[in-house]
Amino acid sequence: MWWHQILVKRKNIELNIKELNSNIGLMKDFKLSIGAVLEKAKEEEVGPTTCPSITDLRDWDMKLLQRYKPFYMPFCDLCCLCTFGKCDLSDGKRGACGLDKEAQQSRIVLVACCIGAATHTGHARHLIDNLIEKYGRKHPIDIGGTNIDINAPVSELVTGIRPSTLGDLEDILDYLETEITHLLSATHTGQEGDNFDFESKVFHAGMVDQAGMEVADIAQISAYGFPRADPDASLVDIGLGAVDVVKPVIMIVGHNVPPSIGIVDYLTENGLYENVEVCGLCCTAHDITRYSPKAKIVGPISWQLRFIRSGIPDVLVVDEQCIRADSLVEAKKIGAPVIASSPKNCLGLKNRTDDSADEIVNDLVSGKVEGALILDPDKVGEVAVRTAMQIAPKRKKFKVIPNLDELIKQANKCTQCDECRRACPNDMRIPEAINQAAKGNLKKLAKLYEECIGCSRCENVCPNELQIHSFITKAAEKIMKEEKYKIRSGRGAIQDVEIRRVGGPIVLGEIPGVVAHVGCANYPKGGEEVAEMIEEFARRRYIIITSGCAAMSAAMYKDKDGKSPYEVHSGDFDAGSVLNVGSCVSNSHIAGAAIKIASIFAKRKLNSNYEEIADYIHNRVGAVGISWGAMSQKAASIASGFWRLGIPVIVGPHGSKYRRMLLGRKDNDNDWYVYDARTGERVYGGPAPEHLFYAAETKEEAMVMTAKLCMRPNDTTKGRAIKLTNYIDLHKRFYGRLPDDIELYVRRLSDIPITMKDEVIRILDKKDWNERIIPDPTLLPRMIRKKGQKK
């Protein structure tokens, strides 16, 4: 007697027996479900992979990995994770544990993605615990009223659970936490040894991450009343110049919003909101504007240091993720107390959660302590507000930005040693700018402001301890004060009705693509490049989705009429629109939209049917993710969630530091064969999409690649012609010539854009091109429809 699969969940049990041979008899494909899963099964047929284990989708992963093979670029020849010491893995050597360099590199990628998935899932767990305590386990999930039937497409696809209450989300989290534990354990010495298997687990971490993000966002939308899939969510202020510096200012940083909600609630309940300014950076700022449009966003995470040093914040409240580890040190310089509010980021501060608000406020205002750890969001609200109001008149916006004379005096100490430039991620010409500043000319310093990512590595290496980041901030003082823009508050999910409206045009290719700009602010040449890319593709009638820091960067550039992209373009999920879904955890709605196209538009079964849905998306939905300033491990896991769905991701040049690309080889014809689901024949589908994970060197390259990666084997001739028009047009503009791979993307003469017919045909003639069939593409043999055979 042997068991193929037993899946036992904490609150529900599902038992699948492929074959049981006992003295009673032979039993095949026996399934027993008890609890919630059975209840859901009544509503919709359950697919083959409910709560998949770390190997259940391995075959699908290998299909993708055979096509998009990893290209590794290690940071180091060594592995130094165990007490064997450092093992040299160069030139094909294996470490003391037997691991080779490629496996070690993929192991590091898996560690990064586990960190990312754990961060989002841990975020979700803390949020759910908090919301259940406040609103109860039976609080309903509602993220779009009657406009949304499928509240949690990612979670339903992965776990088979269709959550209707906050309590249901706990079941999903139980599964996700189990998987993260297994994945991380696979990175232990003496476990997984094959790089492709590590990569498969990377994909699994990404899938888990997408579900974790979804749980977090649908919970907070439902409980806090954030915009519910609202294309007309409020336009809110963004930019340092939007902050009313006359008022006491509370600066919030991080990702997990309950403490910030506590602040807004306290202000509202006590009639103080007109007296205090609440502003933030990073995703907590996104989420607080979803709760209160009166709150303001300062900017992406790279604005953190410059904003603190400006002296504007009177109190700094930090929660979790992407917060500078030296925020306490920096806040101390300006005399602003810090309130840490997350168990994940205690900053060495004393836990004052059980102390009275009076005591904590007194200690913070008097300067007796420089900060406090408060793990009660409501208490954070009271303490932050009262402290800000009492300390503001004392601080008088004390700042650590030098005045002009001081700056010039300090700049004259510079020895032009180049250490700052050599530490700068963007190789900025800092010594030249300091040299000019020493002579009283701040123009070059001010110019660095746009490209500076705010890491302050320049200061840390300066042998003369020059406060270079503060110099740049001073030089750009006027620019900073004028930073005042509009961003549309995060709308949350995409409505089912929107999917029905545009699903067809997307799948047929008539809307040329869905382009999602997500991620951090580690840009090679400033955030303006994000805004440029967004504007270019919105103008070309792609659907543009934004989230996180990228959504903020897009807002911080105005057109000739002084308007941001969110003021110019509609917030609908439609051609030519620019819609901000919200914070990091709102990224799940982007994956959710792709899944809903397969489920709602194409009527593919959703529940526990990952492989089929991913196959559909990969071959038919022209979606591309761009993370131009990707920096974090979370960005890595977000990307890997898209990879498993077959959605390509482009990163900026700094993204090459993820140390592994997933690259297709368009010159290997055999890699691009698909099954034609109508006949079962294997046919050439073309290199579409050509890559799964790709770092571009310049924004021009990224734009051309974006247009190319939106092509899918399923495109109709009309759709392909539209996509080719964009690809060829952008290529001609930026490269000054036609692309050299057009023959791979023209399947029929009718694919050729009418206005480009002559020049394209000339090329095709030179390359002995012949027309080929347009398949009904799938990578899954079981999807082949033969006469009399069901799918």
């Binding site: 160069s90 690309m661 690259l663």
Partner: protein, 178 residues
């Protein structure tokens, strides 16, 4: 001259490239190579050397040594603007991925390259790509843009732009003479 990585924290592991201090050495390596290729990144258009740009030196190098050029990112347009057409456009990730493959037959289908020269890429990107290629048995790599790349087989040290100009002038002269 300095042989530490230009971005100082970018230290590699056990294998470190050899600094190219004299153009004669590079000239000899190039002459010995049977299948060299030159990969030129977008920064070659931005990097000023004396009264020219790095890309101008690289075009002269390619003309003199008849090394085929791959222009990465979008800069093939810049070669056309300089009336130099013996160049192929390819994303740097694609060319790196192909160079890693010992079975790749090259742009002309005549066989794999044995020597890849790099110049004008963002420092960290070139660092990583060279790291990805450094264990190749059949390919040697050289960085020639004046920022020391420890993952290359050979690399110019960290030198000023004018010294790099002198180095490249000398190299081109030597290759031209022979």
């Amino acid at each position: 001259m300095s042989y530490s990585p230009w971005q100082k924290a970018e230290v590699p592991g056990t294998k470190r490239g050899i600094p190219l201090q004299r153009p004669e050495v590079l000239s000899a390596i190039l002459k010995k190579s049977k299948r060299p290729i030159l990969i030129v990144g977008h920064k070659s258009v931005e990097m000023a050397i004396k009264d020219k740009k790095l890309i101008d030196y690289l075009i002269d190098l390619a003309k003199t040594s008849r090394i085929p050029i791959i222009a990465t990112a979008h800069i093939i347009k810049e070669f056309s603007n300089r009336d130099f057409e013996n160049v192929t456009s390819m994303p740097v990730m694609d060319i790196a991925n192909r160079l890693k493959d010992p079975d790749w037959k090259g742009l002309d289908n005549l066989g794999p390259y044995d020597l890849a020269l790099f110049a004008g890429l963002p420092y960290y990107m070139e660092w990583l790509i060279l790291s990805g290629l450094k264990d190749s048995k059949s390919l040697k790599t050289i960085s020639i843009d004046g920022f020391f790349q420890p993952n290359a087989s050979w690399s110019t040290p960290n030198i000023s732009s004018s010294k790099l100009g002198d180095f490249l002038d000398d190299l081109i002269r030597k290759l031209g003479v022979n």
